[in-house]
């Protein structure tokens, strides 16, 4: 899996599945238990020393599944069931969601996460991304603003009504003809803020594209963002709550998530800039004290865990500093707190000043 892998075609994948099936059959015919190697990937470790290879996209070991252990047998069972579904999907050129797959045999899978892991396992075995398997997630992301694109022949023209939310395309690989006059992309953590921007006609006043993943971003949202960032070569700014979960969401956009680590190079957005909200904004913009909450124990533990992630040390040390500041101050607040005094504060003052500040930094 070294180096950048090329995008496999469905027929490549079908071929790979056959090879995989054959190898299992060969093992069985030789009276052996099939052996399945699943490489392990990770996006970070707790090793802050420089010599971890988390960012190098090299597997950090492998899990070996055989029929020797009962949990492995179950995992193989699930993997093969899902693989059978995937083969069907690829041959029929259909798409299915993770939930579709889960609900096909809910009592066998017992939990959605079991299916998710099997899908990840298959991606690792076949060396491909999830969408290559025709497994889609129902996209929950929203987009609006200065962008026009087509998805599978259907044209999406956000520019014609730049303040109307459009769902993020599900099949990002089918997105073509991206056209945009935007100067930057603004990623916001949650829909509430997205709606604020829409209501304030932010995109009419600013040439930008606004995207939200509604919490932790799903794969299509991240892929779509990544696609836009790659094609348009414009800055990507991210606005999240000033709390550890907001930060984690930011980190997910920037570095990808751990369980999809195998695919991180296609999902992360390395040039995303953290626009806010910073702990210091609370004083800077004189937010009312009611909006400020003390960090809970859970929050503190979360921050502690976040601080240990190696990628912050290596890649974004100033983010880490900012997070430490949050830890020191011991307080958190949500973006909505910015709208308390005036609804248009966010769009009229906060964002323009932040963006200006940030673009100067970038230059």
């Amino acid at each position: 899996m070294e180096g950048k892998r090329s995008t496999p075609t469905p027929s490549d994948l079908i071929q790979k599945i056959r090879e995989f099936s054959r190898s299992i059959l060969v093992d069985l015919c030789n009276g052996r238990s099939p052996v399945i190697f699943i490489n392990k990937f990770r996006t970070y470790c707790k090793n802050s020393a420089e010599n971890c290879f988390c960012s190098s996209n090299v597997p950090v070991g492998a899990k070996v599944l055989t029929l020797r252990k009962q949990p492995h047998a179950h995992r193989i069972d699930v993997l093969l069931r899902v693989l059978l579904i995937v083969q069907q999907l690829l041959q029929e050129n259909k798409h299915a969601s993770k939930r579709d797959i889960y609900y096909t045999y809910p009592s066998v899978f017992s939990d959605q996460s079991v299916v998710d892991r099997a899908i990840n396992d298959i991606c690792i075995v076949l060396k491909c991304s999830r969408h290559n398997l025709n497994v889609v997630s129902v996209a929950k992301g929203l987009v609006m603003g200065w962008v026009r694109y087509s998805e599978g022949g259907k044209k999406f023209d956000c520019i014609s009504s730049p303040n109307t939310a459009q769902p993020v395309p599900v099949q990002v690989e089918d997105v073509q003809d991206i056209l945009s006059f935007a100067e930057y992309i603004l990623v916001v953590e949650k829909e509430s803020v997205f709606q604020r921007l829409a209501n304030d006609k932010f995109c009419s006043l600013n040439r930008c594209i606004v995207i939200t993943g509604r919490g932790y971003p799903d794969v299509p949202t991240r892929r779509f963002l990544r696609l836009l960032a790659e094609k348009l070569h414009i800055p990507v700014y991210c606005l999240v709550d000033s709390d550890p979960y907001g930060f984690d969401i930011l980190a997910t956009y920037r570095f990808g998530s751990l369980e999809m680590a195998y695919d991180v190079e296609f999902l992360c957005v390395p040039n995303i800039c953290w626009l806010g909200a910073f702990t210091s904004d609370y004083e800077k913009f004189a937010l009312p004290s009611q909006c400020l909450l003390p960090l809970t124990t859970e929050d503190k533990n979360k921050i502690e865990a976040l601080l240990q992630r190696c990628y912050l040390q290596h890649e974004e040390p100033h983010w880490r500093l900012e997070l430490q500041r949050m830890q020191e101050k011991g307080v958190k607040f949500e973006i909505e707190a910015l709208s308390v005094n005036s609804l248009s504060f966010l769009t009229k003052e906060y964002l323009p000043s932040k963006i200006q500040c940030m673009s100067q930094l970038v230059r």
């Binding site: 054959r22 299992i24 009276g31 052996v35 029929l67 069931r81 799903d218």
Partner: protein
Amino acid sequence: MEVTNLSKQLISLAVQRCRLSGDPCRISVFLRQITVSDSVFTQISISDTGVGSCLKEFQELKIGYNGFAEWDGMLSVTTTSLGDSEIFHYKVNLKENAPNKRLIKLPSSPKKNAVFSGTEVSTSSAEDMELLLADMSSFLRKMIILKMHNIAIELVAESRDEHGLQHEKVVLATELTLPSPKSSNVLQLASGLEDYVCKHRNFNEKCQSCFSSRDNLKVGNGQACRQKHGNDALTVEVVIIISDNELLGPSNSSPSCLKAFESKTEVLYYREFSPCSVHQSAVKALGSIKWNKYGLTPRSISDEENSLVFEWENLPPNTHIDIALHSYDKQVTVPPLRQGIQLETKLVKEAISLALDDLKERYTGALLSDHALKIHNYAPDLARSISGLILSSNDPNFRDECFSLLGMQIGNVEGELLEKCIKGKIISAIDMNDRKPPGLGCKAAVPFLFGDDHFQEPEYMDEYDEGEEDSCNLMDF
């Protein structure tokens, strides 16, 4: 009962003398009813054609406290060795405690240049002959299971009918067999135990309805041998037979076969080629076996009346397990020297495990571990998925390749058949895995850099999504 025990000891000593001789021998047990001044006695005479006795064994015979209730404690011994020119006669008074005072030499008789060796011991007791006969018969029948080369055994009883006529009845007689080059004690035992099982552990005749062929028998054996000191090597041999009386479903079972379905196993224990009550060393060893490695769960192990009985949990209905355990010194001595209980425990355990492993090795699917049995449950699902992968493939070449790999006819293979075939393969792979000693897996092939499961995180990241009816309450608009 003491006479019975004494007789058993005397037979065992005869066996030792025969073993020591190295030549084909015969052991005869002769029971006769005699009337002495209106009292009816049973005369027992045990003769063998082994080496002559040096009498030490008789001096050292151990008799219990109540040994002399129906018996005067006197033995008549007649013995001669190959090199002797005379036949020696003795009386042994077992009531005498001091060994060196027990022996009374009687006048010898000439051998008349004949070259032979042998010993005959006889005694009489007030015990009922029929009882003695039954005990002897059962003892010798157990001994026969050992199928010793070179030793033929017979049991003859002479009784008088109401008319005062003598009737001689051969209750049991084995022929001498020539040892085949491949044969060994343990194989002989295995063969004997097979016969025994086919007779439902009871009958004189093989049960044809259950054992028309021996396919239903799964036989495994194990041997463990260790040097004690000097040339003295202790050997433990175990034979285990799993009999599957499949033909005898409850529907056509005859009452006489019923015992076949008992889920109990009485362990047959032999020492120095003689049946024997189970020794503590063996009891200990049998209790410490990891039976669940073989899918067996002893519900209880009871040590009843000198015999060890296992009761099994979850044994399939028509299955029976038979275990025979033989422990002997390579070095033959008369009387036998015994010591090293710990060593024996160890060897018994080893031999049993080897026998179980042997069974597992020889018979696919036999004695699967609990663990493998659980994994078996996945086989149908796995088979369905794999056959699904093959059958749903739109590449006919691939399908054909798979069929041929499986040794199936190319062309239109029925799904069910394919699935069944694959399932069989999976099960045998699981069974194969189960047979391999642990630690010899495919681990060597794996490059583990990090531990196993720690980087596993909750799944929430990707699945924070709309969800169904359950997650309608998300406030975070």
